[in-house]
């Protein structure tokens, strides 16, 4: 790695919002590291049902300034809590169709336990703390914002 690459790494944000489809390849590339023997990643997809209702599509809205800051804080926490080499997370905003990638998180580490744990931590914390809201459109023509109570939250 030359000096320019190290500089770019410091400048690069580890959490991002994206208005366009998430391109996984560059995220994977940035996690690739000679010190890493494991990489765990998670893809959250838009599914065609929620809470017993048929879903046609959805829209994500974010409070951008705070979402970027809180997402960055979460990835920083993961880098401190777990023995990982690197981590990244991207969350979509805007209109998404069934099957589209809504969130991608990945962590590279010397060993798989830390990679799995860090990836899980990032996704769980983003879902519970980052100011992003889901607006679902249903097959019956209705639509609405999801504002789950903590006890209603279910794993993706």
């Amino acid at each position: 790695m030359n000096f320019r690459d190290e500089h770019d790494e410091r400048e690069m944000k580890r959490f991002a919002l994206s208005e366009t489809p998430i391109d996984i390849a560059p995220l994977h590339d940035v996690l690739l590291d000679a010190r890493a023997g494991a990489c765990a990643s998670f893809e959250g997809w838009v599914r065609d049902h929620n809470d017993g209702r048929a879903v046609r599509g959805l829209r994500y809205e974010a409070y951008v300034a705070l979402a970027e800051a809180e997402g960055e804080r979460i990835v920083d926490e993961a880098l401190v809590k777990f023995e990982i080499v690197n981590a990244r997370c991207v969350h979509r905003t805007g209109e998404l169709a069934i099957g589209e990638l809504a969130i991608w998180a990945g962590a590279s580490a010397a060993h798989r336990d830390a990679a799995f744990a860090a990836c899980r931590y990032i996704v769980d914390e983003v879902k519970s703390r980052v100011p992003i809201w889901k607006h679902e459109r249903y097959a019956d023509g209705a639509a609405g914002w999801l504002h789950p109570r903590p006890e209603q939250e279910k794993p993706a």
């Binding site: 409070y63 519970s128 109570r149």
Partner: protein
Amino acid sequence: MARVTVLYFASLRDAAGVASEQVETEAADLHTLYESARTRYGFSLPVERLRVAVDGAFAKWGDPVRDGGEIAFIPPVSGG
């Protein structure tokens, strides 16, 4: 009297009919400011289910309302 900018998101924006507005308020703290907006727009969410942010950082409901601040009411999030 403080003049602040208030941001509304998701169902709060739909209920308020605006994404942001300038408010002149006598409210001593952020909790009181939310209650006055809740009364004005009929928000169904009680303050216990929300978080609040000032100038892009999470804040506490007991924090004072400062002139010129940008205040965001954060309904329960549903990313991921």
